[in-house]
């Protein structure tokens, strides 16, 4: 590979897509400045060059590496939410000339099964492990064991305090709830709102509810939140939301903090023909939810990018290994995209693999880009 040694010593010329060169220095710079998103973008720019690379484990202008094998442990391995995550991890591995990472864990969120899968991955001497920290204590010992054995560990999708993952790639649950609360405050000034939650107290959804309540307390204190326990089974969630609405028809807004309950709200509003009469919104991208946003039954839903939760950990572990830990993986919040009627069309029509669909075609850019949520922090 031409100039790979010299390239370390001298300033590099700007890269071009036609040239197909992917300069290490620019990657490092991008990491330093922009963190994850920029890194993802520059890696994507190298896509064209990966096709011309002549051996596995070599991409762009990177030094040749061995074909690192990463393992993803998951708490609900067969859940459709994580289909894009799996696409993401495979795409990133293919981009970097690595074998596809393994996808193991538990089908039903059983922590001991996850621990077994985690430790089996260590025994198999994988080169990196990504895991959702769905339990605050159980993964501490295996993580230490992996780090001790020189295997980087990254948390994705769910994080817990007091753990030792190198970083977290996923939604900041409390923050996403807080942002949703601000959105609700801007729509509903006073009165009652219903908020559906599949498992009160569960580490996966409760922080969102806490965030909503905190935001409303600060911005719209005269709004009263009524929590609806909808249960984890999807069929029951519609019944639960309907029952709650029957008991509180004066509700100004109907919201939810988990995927199933959000879809149930969309179904219910369509069924009762109250679209536009109540405010509504929630999380994730189940089909009924997207249909609901498109038809106007829901004002919004929040996309936490399951795809990036697979793509970025692979990229981060690759960089970390390749640089002998010099490129420490940055914490990355993948999820605060409000999907509304203005930007829902690619979600509804593209059927893209990025969101769990089957089409692998390039999704056309919209002609104009809607304003994202305003920035809240100064840095």
């Amino acid at each position: 590979m031409a100039g790979s040694i010299a390239g370390q010593e001298f300033p590099t010329t700007p890269t071009t897509a036609e040239g197909g060169h992917f300069e290490r220095r620019s990657v490092l710079r991008a990491l330093g400045i922009g963190g994850g998103a920029a890194l993802a973008a520059s890696a994507l720019a190298a896509c064209s060059s990966s096709r011309t690379s002549n051996s596995t484990g070599t991409i762009g202008d990177f030094p040749k590496t061995s074909g690192w094998k990463f393992a993803f442990v998951n708490h609900v391995t067969t859940n459709s939410f994580f289909a894009p995550t799996q696409s993401g991890m495979k795409d990133a591995a293919a981009l970097l000339g690595l074998p596809a990472p393994t996808w193991t864990g538990s089908e039903n969120g059983v922590v001991s099964e996850m621990v077994n899968a985690f430790q089996t991955a260590i025994a198999a001497k994988v080169d990196g492990i990504a895991i959702p920290l769905t339990d605050s204590n159980a993964f501490i010992a295996p993580t230490k064991q992996a780090l001790e054995a020189g295997i980087p560990v990254i948390a994705y999708n769910a994080n817990a305090s007091g753990n030792y993952g190198l970083t977290y790639v996923g939604q900041d649950l409390y923050q996403s709830g807080y942002q949703m609360g601000l959105k609700i405050a801007s729509e509903v000034a006073s009165g009652d709102v219903l908020v559906g939650i599949s498992q009160p107290g569960s580490l996966n959804v409760q922080p969102r509810l806490d965030g909503i309540k905190a935001a409303l307390k600060a911005q719209a204190p005269s709004v009263t939140v009524h929590t609806v326990d909808t249960g984890a089974a999807q069929s029951g969630e519609l019944s639960a939301m309907e029952s709650a609405y029957q008991g509180l028809k004066s509700a100004k807004g109907i919201y939810a903090v988990d995927a199933g309950s959000t879809a149930a709200i969309a179904q219910m509003i369509t069924k009762y023909g109250i679209s536009g009469q109540v405010h509504a919104g929630g999380f994730d991208l189940l089909e009924d939810t997207i249909t609901g946003v498109k038809s106007g039954a829901l004002d919004f839903t929040i996309d936490q990018s399951a795809y990036l939760q697979g793509f970025l950990p692979v990229l981060y572990m690759f960089m970390y290994r390749m640089t002998g830990s010099l490129v420490f993986p940055p914490a990355t919040d993948t999820g605060l995209t409000f999907v509304t009627s203005s930007n829902v069309s690619p979600y509804a029509s593209a059927n893209s693999w990025i969101e769990g669909g089957t089409s692998r075609a390039v999704v056309p850019m919209p002609s104009s880009i809607g304003l994202p949520a305003p920035s809240t922090v100064q840095s």
């Binding site: 193991t104 025994a123 010992a141 580490l203």
Partner: protein
């Protein structure tokens, strides 16, 4: 008396007479076929591409983590199946009992006392199962299904659906799962205890009679109901103990752990090990080998990196293939004995 340690086969017998003696004794053991299948599975993964990673102490430890709780619960389920009963709630007892311990602990009791009370509650669960089964003559399938749902709900209420850090530490913690191999010791102890009870005590004979022909058992003076209730109590006790030991080992009492998958693995282990699903005959040591076989398959294919979507396909095929081999060896065994 039949030979208890099938491993002796590997030693070359000195004389033909001795060979015939040991060989026939061995062939009479119903555990022989499942043991051979387990060895075959072990050999398969040892010879595979990850053979070196498979044969490490660390990986044996992981295999132990898989089968430990299954074997403990299977020891009880095997006896229940022999009695002609089943406990579908055992997996939820596993989940529930640690939170019973927590509720006592949170009320200010110390750990040992909370532990004793939690164990008593787990035996109480079995007692209720057994009484409903025998007093009201409700099938154990329905009785324990209902108990399973009840315990699942109670677990969520008790835990508020949040995992907690087990308060059991120090020596007691090491005994109950904290020490690296303590789970194995518990599993072997329970299996040995129950096998001895089955093979060498009146209770074992009664249990087989109760499952094989309940009517004639009752008419010959065996207190069938009492035997069944005792077995329900033992099964729940082992399930509760497995819940505590396994989750102390994991380092977290988790409301999502255990449940139906745990129960299914335990019942599968018992049946794979050679216990009749319809009662009357069975083996506890066989259930242990059944659990080890399932653990080797799970660990081996995870180690080789089979994708989660394909995993159940592979497991399904592997279990049926292993059982076909088991049936084949058993028929050889019977033919040879004739």
């Amino acid at each position: 008396m039949a030979q208890q340690t099938p491993q002796l086969t590997r030693r070359e017998p000195e004389t033909t007479a001795a060979r015939r003696g040991i060989g026939r004794a061995l062939l009479r053991r119903r555990e022989l076929s499942i043991l051979l299948v387990t060895i075959a599975a072990f050999a398969y993964f040892s010879a595979g591409s990850h053979g070196a990673d498979f044969n490490t102490t660390n990986n044996y430890h992981i295999i132990m983590q898989y089968f430990g709780p299954w074997a403990m619960i299977a020891a009880g389920e095997a006896l229940l199946l022999i009695c002609g009963e089943i406990d579908l709630s055992a997996g939820f007892t596993y989940t529930f009992v640690p939170f019973v311990l927590m509720s006592f602990y949170n009320q200010g009791l110390d750990v040992p006392l909370s532990l004793v009370l939690a164990i008593l509650v787990s035996m109480g669960i079995g007692l209720v199962n057994g009484l409903i089964r025998t007093v009201f003559n409700l099938s154990s399938f329905i009785t324990t299904l209902g108990m399973g749902f009840f315990l699942e709900g109670m677990t969520y209420i008790q835990s508020n659906a949040e995992p907690v850090n087990p308060p059991i530490t120090g020596t007691l913690g090491n005994v109950l799962g904290g020490w690296r191999w303590s789970e194995l010791v518990w599993a072997l102890l329970i299996v040995a205890l129950m096998q001895v009870a089955l093979s060498y005590t009146k209770y074992g004979v009664y249990a087989q009679a109760a499952g094989g022909n309940p009517l004639s058992a009752a008419e010959s003076g065996i207190k069938v109901n009492r035997v069944k209730i005792a077995t329900f109590v033992l099964t729940s006790l082992f399930a509760g103990l497995a819940g505590i030991v396994d989750q102390v080992r994991v380092g977290s009492f988790d409301p999502t752990s255990g449940g139906s998958p745990m129960m299914f693995m335990a019942v599968s282990a018992a049946v794979i090990g050679g216990t009749a699903l319809l009662g009357g005959s069975g083996t506890v040591v066989g259930a242990l080998f059944g659990a080890v076989l399932l653990a080797i398959i799970q660990n081996g294919f995870t180690l080789t990196g089979v994708n989660a979507y394909a995993f159940d396909v592979v497991i399904g095929v592997a279990v049926v293939a292993a059982m076909l081999l088991n049936v084949y060896i058993s028929s050889l065994r019977r033919k040879y004995l004739r």
